[in-house]
Each structure stands twice: as structure tokens, then as C-alpha cells.
Symmetry: C2
Subunit: 669 residues, 2 copies
């Protein structure tokens, strides 16, 4: 039910009793304008500078049509520009679309009425901030950055040496979607650069570098309904393969012999391993950055001789084998020869293959070319699924330069953000066409609208191997929670982090803390990092190995629960790692938390994310909570609990149907 209310100064669009638009001369619903931008890209890091030509407030309005399910309003300004806006109820949601868009306009500023005491979540994967109220959030797919804090020395170094420091908002996976604590979601259907500005008390301003095809708003009664409805709209992730939970996905490198030896040692120490993940299955190269991979998508005959046979043998022992792929082709690889001949590569404005998108001899595949899509899909099906891979890291997706020329003719300014979603779709279709959905899994880093429908699993990308809030262990917590509020409910991270630059090295303590957190996420997977020799590994000493083995046992012990949690995400879009407020809507205190989450409905997890700490302060909402390590019961409020290594603060909800399972955690050795 859409209602129009007018009082002479104010035009209100009311949707099911919820005032969504409050238009006045001073705060007009819509500005339109035009501008140009310069996008400077260096290895997926963007500096974007705008030159705004016009920004015009459409202060005048005429209500052209007023029906219960459809309202049409013309917003204009002295006939300079007029845009007709349709407010239509579709499937219980409010669709706002823009018609008769004047030519030459490529900027819009749309204002949604802000509510009192509102908290804002989502906008894709946000590593530094969780509640976005008070922030202006740029939405552009990019590298996440190294350090991600302009007051941090590591960031400074990464900026100076490689323009790669990033900032609090830089992310692989932004999404023009937010969820309000006032129980509505809002999503913009468009792929151009946007900024969502939540700094004003009266309105949220959505700045879009186009006139978007649609803004969708859906108001529900509860936070759970909001998430269910959002994911019904955006698409949900299916369940993970059943084998996923049977142990860790062990990230090893170096060829068959090396990895099998390490696997044996790990298993001998009681580590539950369900998969070997060998990112160098296709070979490698050494660069300044560290050990990199050889981007030609077939198994490397010298490093992994007769890999299909090795996989077969591993599978017989209950071990899966996972590989790696990304959006590039090495120009010194065999596949590139065919791809360039057939025109499957993104072009520069001279019609040549676009070089320089990456600091390696590599070029990007053009996914707007249906033949290129089929070609790479077949490579995935034959060279990866075909030889027995049970999954792979599906890397990158952030690097499409805006001055690239695409097969489809679509501007790269518009396609840039779509690129990672298309990449996920290709991988998903390859899996489905091979009939392997539910057996084979891939995990993506970059994302945008569409990713939640196509990707099977996210990982948090390349954290620095340290304790920094913006780029270390802590950062993957808001990342998972904000993804969950954006429609993507299953994610995980490299245990121990990935990036080791400028002397930062992974310590034993960091690895152990990260491992114990990972036991309470959907997937446990390690990564040796970009400089494996500089970083503490799961097998660097006996204590670490035993600690990790114990965590793998806890994780596999929790399989029935985690499966259910992931199933709930698949069926209802309630994320596995979830912001506690969605179950305790009346508890304002919860909105202050950033580094604490519910894992499913019944486990409250508060990882130790600071160095040299043996306790942690956390908050528990209404309910009775049992501390898994001591069995002690806690009630609502702030608590400081002991948390020596190996005893990450975790509480289960009294009365949970999994109470017995949870009780046994403390006995696992």
C-alpha cells in the first residue's frame, strides 16, 4: 500500500505505514547531474577523482498517478530537467524506478528518509566498520589494501611503494545494499560507482554515477524477515558439500612430494584434514611480492606429475584436492595464445590486448564475450573438475580498468563492478554443467550484486599477518558480518592471514588465535601466505600443530550444528556468522559491538583479536549463556572472561537443541 501525503511543503511517500521519501525544497528527493571521472588504477588499487559538471536539485514535483500499488511523480526543476519516478509495489516490496531520463545525465543523488536512532549494516564486505551510520561509504570493487588505515605505518609504506595502502572502505566486495536496524533493506540496481552517505540525521543520500534502473526497498517486521526477504531477492548460497566439514582445507604448496609429506606429518599429529588445497597446482613464478602462481589453467606436469592419479589416491583416503584459478591468463602461457587469437582478452583503446592491468605478464579475460565465457567454462570443466578437483580458490575480479574496451560494447566504468559477479557466475555454471553442485566448491574474493546468487563461498581475501584492526585478524569479523547483512552468509578467511610485506611476519600466537576463531566459522582453511618462509605455519612447531589439531577436532565435532547453520542460510538467508542484534532487536547495546558474533543461533563467539591478551571483554544479550570451557553460566551484560590460547571465548545458549554437542567441546583434546 503506497500513500502520498502532502502538506504544502512536504511530499511524503508512505509504503505500508513507513515513510520512505520526505521531499521538500530544502531536502529534495532527487538531484540529477553530470560529471566525468578519472580512475587511476595500479594493480587493482584505484584513485578516483571526479569532475562534476552539474548537480541540480529537482525541487518541483507533480503527482501524476496515485494508486494503492503504484504512484507516479514527476520531479523537475523549472523544466531544466524532469524525471518521472514510479513507486510500485512488487512482491510486497517498493520498487522505485526512473523514467524519461533526460539525455546527458549520469549522476543522481537519491534521498531515503532516515529514521531516528537508526543503525546501518551491509554495503557488501566492510572490513573496518560495521554500523555504517555516520559514514560515507564509497562502493567500488577494488583491492582491499595493505594496512587500510592512513595513520598506520604499514599503510604508509604500501602507499609510497605501490599505491596499495587502501583505506577503511576499500573492499573486494562492495554492494549497493544496506539493511537498517529499523527493519528494512534498500538496494540499488546499478553497477556504476556509488557513494552511500549515512552521515545525515534526516536522510540517507545514495549518490550513483548514473540514473539507476531501480531502487528497491523492503520493510519487514523483524530483522530475520528482512534478511530472508533480501536474500529471496538477491539469491542465496546453496549448502556446502557434506565433506567440507570433515576437517581443515590444508593450504600447501611445492609439488606432490612436498605436500604429501606435510599432509602425513599433519595427520600423524591428529590434524583432521579433509582437503589439500594446492594453489600452485598450475605452477608458480617468483616475483618481488613473493611466491606467485603461473596463470595458465592446467595442472603442472613437473610439480604435480600425473595429478589425476594422485587425486584419485587421495580421494580414496578421504582427502579432497582443491586448486586455484583467476581472471587472468599469463601471456607466457599456452592458453593465452588461443585466447588472444580468438579475441577473448579485454582490449585497450587501440584494440590491443590490455596490458598493465597487473604487474605481471598477464591479461584479463573478457567475460562480455559469450564465446570467451564458454571457453573458460570448458577449461574449468575439463582441466579442473575433469581431473578430479573438488574445488578451487576463485581469485581476483577487481582489476578491470575503466578505460578497457569490452566485446559487448558496454563501458568498463559500468562493467567494472559487474566483473567479479560474472566471474562467480561462470564458475557456478561450470560446476552445475558438470553436474557437481553439492560436491565441488569454489570460493571467491571479489564480489558485487549477483555474487550472492552465484558464488558458493566467500573468503576474506588477503589480510596482513598481524593484529591490526583494519587489516589483521580482527578485520575478518566485521567482514563476515557485513557480508551476512548484504545477502552473503557463508564466508571464511586464510588462517593466519596472507600478506607479509615490509617486515611484517606471521607469529605463532597470531596463527593460533586465528585457528581457534576459524573453528567457529563455516570453513577452516590455511594459507602459507605470500612469503611462506617468513611466516609461522601450522607445522612450524609441535605446540602449534597440536593446537591446530585440537581446533580441527572441535570443528569437525560441530559438524551437525554447522551443517544446520549453513542450511539455514541456504533456505532463509540467515547468515552463518551473524550480527547478534538480529535475534535481540530490542538490545541497543549490541549495535556497539564489532568484534563479536553469533555463529548460528546458539553460539556466541568473541575471538581474542589483540596480541598478548589472555582475557576478553564481551557482551551477552538476554538469555542464559554457558561458557564452553568452564561450563559457567552468564547472563545479560558485559563480562571479562579468561581466554588463554586454545580457549577462545565461546558461549552456547542454554536450552539449545545442540546443548549436548556443545557441552562436549571442553573435553576435546
Amino acid at each position: 500500500m503506497i500513500k502520498v501525503k502532502e502538506d504544502g511543503k512536504l511530499l511524503v511517500i508512505d509504503f505500508n505505514g513507513f515513510e520512505i521519501v520526505k521531499h521538500s525544497n530544502e531536502i529534495p528527493f532527487l538531484h540529477v547531474g553530470s560529471g566525468t571521472a578519472n580512475y587511476d588504477m595500479l594493480n587493482g588499487n584505484f584513485e578516483i577523482e571526479e569532475h562534476l559538471n552539474e548537480k541540480i536539485a529537482l525541487t518541483d514535483y507533480t503527482v501524476l498517478e496515485e494508486k494503492a500499488t503504484s504512484v507516479k511523480v514527476k520531479f523537475s526543476r523549472n523544466e531544466v530537467y524532469a524525471v518521472t519516478v514510479n513507486f510500485t509495489e512488487v512482491d510486497g516490496r517498493l520498487h522505485i524506478d526512473f523514467q524519461e531520463k533526460p539525455k546527458g545525465l549520469n549522476r543522481s543523488w537519491i534521498k531515503i528518509a532516515a529514521q531516528e536512532n537508526e543503525h546501518i549494516y551491509g554495503c557488501g564486505e566492510q572490513f573496518s566498520e560495521l554500523d555504517l551510520k555516520g559514514k560515507k561509504v564509497p562502493l567500488w570493487v577494488s583491492e582491499q589494501g595493505v594496512g587500510r588505515n592512513k595513520k598506520d605505518y604499514l599503510t604508509f609504506q604500501a602507499d609510497v611503494h605501490a599505491g596499495a595502502g587502501g583505506d577503511w572502505y576499500t573492499t573486494y566486495y562492495p554492494q549497493p545494499t544496506f539493511v537498517s536496524s529499523k527493519n528494512y533493506w534498500c538496494h540499488v540496481e546499478d553497477s556504476h560507482y556509488m557513494e552511500f552517505d549515512f552521515r545525515n540525521d534526516l536522510y540517507h543520500e545514495l549518490c550513483v554515477w548514473s540514473i539507476p534502473s531501480k531502487v528497491i526497498i523492503s520493510k519487514k517486521n523483524t530483522a530475520l524477515e528482512v534478511l530472508e526477504d533480501l536474500t529471496a531477492y538477491l539469491g542465496r548460497q546453496p549448502e556446502l558439500p557434506d565433506w567440507s566439514y570433515d576437517g581443515v582445507w590444508l593450504g600447501l604448496q611445492g609439488g606432490t612430494e612436498t605436500v604429501l609429506k606435510k599432509l602425513e606429518n599433519a595427520q600423524n599429529h591428529g590434524l583432521k584434514v579433509v582437503a589439500l588445497w594446492c594453489q600452485d597446482w598450475e605452477g608458480k613464478r617468483i616475483t618481488d611480492f613473493g611466491k606467485r602462481l603461473f596463470w595458465n589453467w592446467e595442472y603442472h606436469k613437473e610439480m604435480y606429475p600425473d595429478l589425476p592419479q594422485t587425486i584419485k589416491e587421495l580421494n580414496e583416503k578421504g582427502i579432497k584436492f582443491l586448486g586455484y584459478i583467476n581472471t587472468f591468463l599469463a601471456t607466457d602461457g599456452e592458453m593465452y595464445k588461443e585466447a588472444t587469437k580468438k579475441g577473448y582478452i579485454v582490449k585497450d583503446n587501440e584494440g590491443k590486448d590490455y596490458e598493465g592491468a597487473k604487474d605481471m605478464p598477464a591479461v584479463l579475460m573478457d567475460f562480455t564475450n559469450p564465446e570467451a565465457v564458454n571457453w573458460i567454462k570448458n577449461i574449468i570443466k575439463e582441466n579442473m573438475i575433469g581431473i578430479g578437483l573438488s574445488g578451487w580458490m576463485c581469485d581476483f575480479g577487481e582489476y578491470l580498468p575503466t578505460d578497457a574496451v569490452l566485446y559487448s560494447g558496454e563501458s568498463a566504468e559500468s562493467y567494472h563492478n559487474k566483473y567479479p559477479a560474472e566471474w562467480a557466475k561462470i564458475n557456478r555454471e561450470a560446476v552445475e554443467e558438470a553436474g557437481k553442485l553439492g560436491e565441488v566448491v569454489f570460493f571467491t574474493r571479489a564480489g558485487y550484486t549477483g555474487t550472492s546468487r552465484y558464488s558458493l563461498l566467500m573468503w576474506a581475501g588477503d589480510q596482513t599477518v598481524n593484529w591490526s584492526l583494519d587489516d589483521g585478524l580482527a578485520s575478518v569479523i566485521p567482514a563476515a558480518l557485513s557480508l551476512g547483512m548484504s545477502g552473503f552468509g557463508i564466508s571464511h578467511s586464510d588462517i593466519g592471514g596472507y600478506t607479509s610485506l615490509y617486515g611484517v611476519k606471521r607469529t605463532k600466537e597470531l596463527f593460533m588465535r586465528w585457528a581457534e576463531m576459524a573453528a567457529f566459522t563455516p570453513v577452516m582453511r590455511t594459507h602459507e601466505g605470500n612469503r611462506p618462509d617468513d611466516c609461522w605455519q601450522f607445522d612450524s612447531d609441535e605446540e602449534t600443530l597440536l593446537h591446530f589439531a585440537k581446533m580441527s577436532k572441535i570443528y569437525t565435532h560441530l559438524k551437525p550444528y554447522i551443517k544446520d547453520v549453513v542450511k539455514e542460510n541456504a533456505e532463509k538467508g540467515i547468515p552463518a556468522q551473524r550480527h547478534p542484534y538480529i535475534h535481540y532487536e530490542n538490545d541497543e547495546e549490541l549495535h556497539k559491538l564489532k568484534y563479536q558474533y553469533l555463529f548460528g543461533r546458539d553460539l556466541m563467539v568473541a575471538p581474542v583479536y589483540e596480541e598478548n591478551k589472555t582475557s576478553r571483554k564481551l557482551y551477552l544479550p538476554e538469555d542464559n549463556w554457558i561458557h564452553v570451557w568452564t561450563g559457567k553460566e552468564y547472563g545479560k551484560g558485559y563480562h571479562e572472561v579468561e581466554a588463554p590460547l586454545g580457549e577462545i571465548p565461546v558461549f552456547y545458549r542454554k536450552g539449545s537443541q545442540y546443548e549436548d554437542l556443545f557441552k562436549q567441546i571442553a573435553d576435546i583434546k
Copy 2:
């Protein structure tokens, strides 16, 4: 002669054959709009963030009046906004003013047609860039910053610890004035925040956060005429007192006894001293930053007992005494008591004295209150001139917060930039009212339009005591040259620099290089720096003292020449330190230079601005040039010359009327 030319698509305003405005639908002469801004200030460092409400291209036009000396054009956009622009010839210049300004507008973007192969100079004091073509230059009076380069670690530290790192464009003395190598000047009469954008090949865009009262453009035949005309409009500086050139102005601190002892030692080593400059004449306090002064403007009875008598005795020996004053009053000083009672202090929005403009117990005087102006003028006349001071450092002027409330009712957003010019005017009037112009001198740091009319001398502010291009020795060269292109022709700098933070200490080499450069500027003055004990001083060893003494002798030897150079500035506005191109307009090569200048017409100076260098590459234009140290003759082109310590690359022009004087330089010991 103003002509209007129209060809259907293009409206051209031609002034004396020079096409100044080229208006079209795509590149309209005028945009107007509105916005708000947040100015975050910390100790004179500003972070300015704008929220733009509207920006509207006034694409329509009607020529309302067309006379030879006056053209009136209405620029509008479908009657949303219309602004009538008068183009009027006044004193041979083109005045552009804006009438019937619509209410609510506080932003304008004015486009001046760019010329082919144009170089742009001025915009006040620019420390990092000289030719501003290709740059966007913000114009806002502020601290200059420590480091001034976001890729520099010192800047990073200053930013992190104090928000004080600055950037390439931060300056004490911006001015909305530029000079084009195509021999015109352009000045905007307004004091709000501006950005001059010289990045487009077709136009220069002047963004003003108001509708300015006037834009003035003056086209001349030669660069010298341009500067003469610009300074005729803006006001020129009078000559310096004759005594100025008789030696160095020696910056000493610590009370009568200490400074007299140091003076004696200096003179015993042959240093020519004409003035003692004691910034702590009014007492001092110690802070985290270093040694600071006690901002209560009367001589300190303990540190300088019976200062009037000391001054008298010094004067009899030919030594002047200089002091210090700034725009603040210490709230623990006596004068504040009177000033606050009488309402002479800048207020906050609760009507209380504005605290927190500085990280010290100090408040700003309100120069919009005529009584406050008289009051501080009398203090200057009585407590400073009255006790025999021959001059003073006239410090600060950058710190007026934009949310301050002023006596006059003018918004501080508008008054902020005017504040330093008003401060210079007060000091100038005090000198004139005391009848001491030509005997007493003061030197200012901050500035804006008006400063060139009122201040007697600039100094370059607080350089870091190092070799950095953006904030060290090198930076004072473009600073002086850009000031010269903005109408301020006599400046100097602290020999050796001032700021010693984060472990940066002044070295012997830096002091010696800076001293030899200062000998070829209008004034030689030392400063002990903010941390005197950490920094190499003129008397730190015998070699330094003798080197400095020699430089003081060269400087005083040049007195007849320097006097003439300064006189030329007073009479014609041709700056003392000048960009060589103004005498060699056909030599494109000169526009590439940043660290080389003409001192007067006949001395080419190319300071060694890098550490551990004993030679320097430089460029000489047409003419025959004699190297002062070797007597060797050089012609047009690039040359690399030997430059051991003490032999700064300096050349005199063969045929100069001062040839004999210059020849003798090499013999000075």
C-alpha cells in the same frame, strides 16, 4: 575595447584583441550553486570537506548591452537562475562583476579561456610548485605543514601525531591571483575558500565559495608590464630601512646577558651584524613542541631588565633591536585581562572567548572590532616602537576558526582569509602613526590579498631543517618566486630553517648552504629554531662562524645593488627574487626551472639545495654570464658548475652597471 563575438554556438568576450571568455553549452562561462562545508581545524591545519547541494551550468545567455567599454550579459538556465555579468573596462583592465545574484547561491565556477602553451604563476606563496599549469590549487590561509608531501615519512609522522603534515598546496599566504606567461594577470576579489583549476587545456576554472564581487583581468605586452600593473592594482611594498642591509639580523634568545655575549663573539669573528632579533623579548614558555614564547606584548623585566636602555646602548653601536608579536594573547598574561573585559577577543558561538584555536593558553584578537584594533596598535606603538624596537616578526594570522563569532558580524568563513591581511595593516598603521616608516620594519608570515599593500617584508615561515624539496631549503625558492608573481616582491627565510621534529636536526652543511643563499636575498636573518639545542647554529663551530661572516660581508658589499633591486620593487613591483622568464619571455626552457632565480636584473642565483653536492646544474638564458667565483664566462644553455661550500653558483650579467661591484665578490674573505 571590449568586443562581443557570437557564432551561434560560441559567445566570445574579447578584450583588446584577447579572447578572455569563450562560452558555449558544453563549456559555459559560469556555473552557480550552493553548498556547505565542514572546516576541521587543528592548530592552523585545516581539513575541509564540502557537501555540494547544487551546481548549475548557466548555459543560456542574452547580451543586454554592448558598448566599447562595457558589455552586459545575462547568463541563465531556463529561468532557474540568472546572473547578470558586467564586463567593464576600468583603468585599462577588464572588470567582471556579477549582479542580480540570486539568493541562496554561495558557489560559483568561472571559466577563463586558456591559451595554448601557457604557464601559470602566482596564487600567493607556493612552496612546492612554481608553474601551476596542470594543477588544481586550493586557496586557504593555513599552516604550511611539516613535510608537505604525503609520500614523505616526516609528513606521515606529523599527520599522525598532530594532523600537521600539510600537502603541496598548503600555505600561509595563498592569494586568488595568477599571472599567465601569455602576459595577463587575473585576480578574484573575494575572501572565501577557492580552488583555481589549471588542469584543462581549454579553460582555467576558478571555483569560489561565494559569488565574488569582482574578477579583474589585465592584459599587457610584456611580463614586466604585467607585474607593474598587477602591483599598481594590489599595492606595493615600500623600500626597506637603509640600515637593513648593513649586516645580518641575528636571531638570538635567552635574555640580555646571553645575547650580548653571543653578539660579541660573532662580531669578534668578523660577522657583520646590524640587528639583534630576540623573539623572546616578551618572555617564554616550554612546551612539547619546543621553546615557545609568552604571548603578552611587553618586554620581559627579568630576561631583559631595562631593555629600553640596552637598546639605546646597542643603537649607539650601530645595532638595532628587533622583537616579536603575533595575533594571540596568552590567557595567563596581563593584557588578556583587559582585552577580554573589553570584548576584544574572537568569540565562540556561546559568546565566550574562543579557546582551542591554539594548543596553548592563548586566544585570538578580534580585528573586526575597531577598538581592539586601536588597542593593539597602541600596544605596538608604546610597548614596541616606544621602547626603541626597530622592527619585529609579525607572526601567525592563519588560525581563525570558521565557527568563530566576530564583532563585525561577518562570517568567519569569509573573514578567515582576510585576517592576516588585516593583521599586516594594523602593524603598518602602527609604524606609520608612529612616524617610523622607513626606520622600523616588520615581517609577516601569513597573507592574503591586501598583504602586499600593508606588510613591509615576508619571511617564508617554518621550514623543516632539512633538504626536502617540499619543506626544506629548496622550498623557499619557489616560495619567493611565486610571491613575486603575486605582487609581493621582498621576502626572506630563517637561515637554516626552523622546524626540528621527529628527530630531524639541522646540520652544519644545511646551515652553511642556507646562509650562502641568504646572502643573495633582500634580508639575511637567522633563527635558532624550535629546538635550538638540537640544531646546528651559526656559532656552533669556528668554520661555520667564519663562513657566515664571509657571507655577511658579501651581502653588505652588495648593499648598493640590493637597495636598487628593492627600490625597483617599491617603484614598479618587479620582485627582488624573480622568475628569470620575465626578462627572457621567448625562452621556453625557463619555465621548466624551479630552483633558480634572478636576484634583481643582473644576478643569476642557483643555490645548492641537495645534501653532499659540490656542483650544480643550472640554465642560463641569452646574454653573457660571468661566474662570480671563477670569473669564467658562460653563454646560453645548461651548465654544471663546481659549487663547494661557500661558492653558491652565482653569475652576473656582463655589461651590468654593477659589474665592478660583482667582480669584487670573489675577493671577499
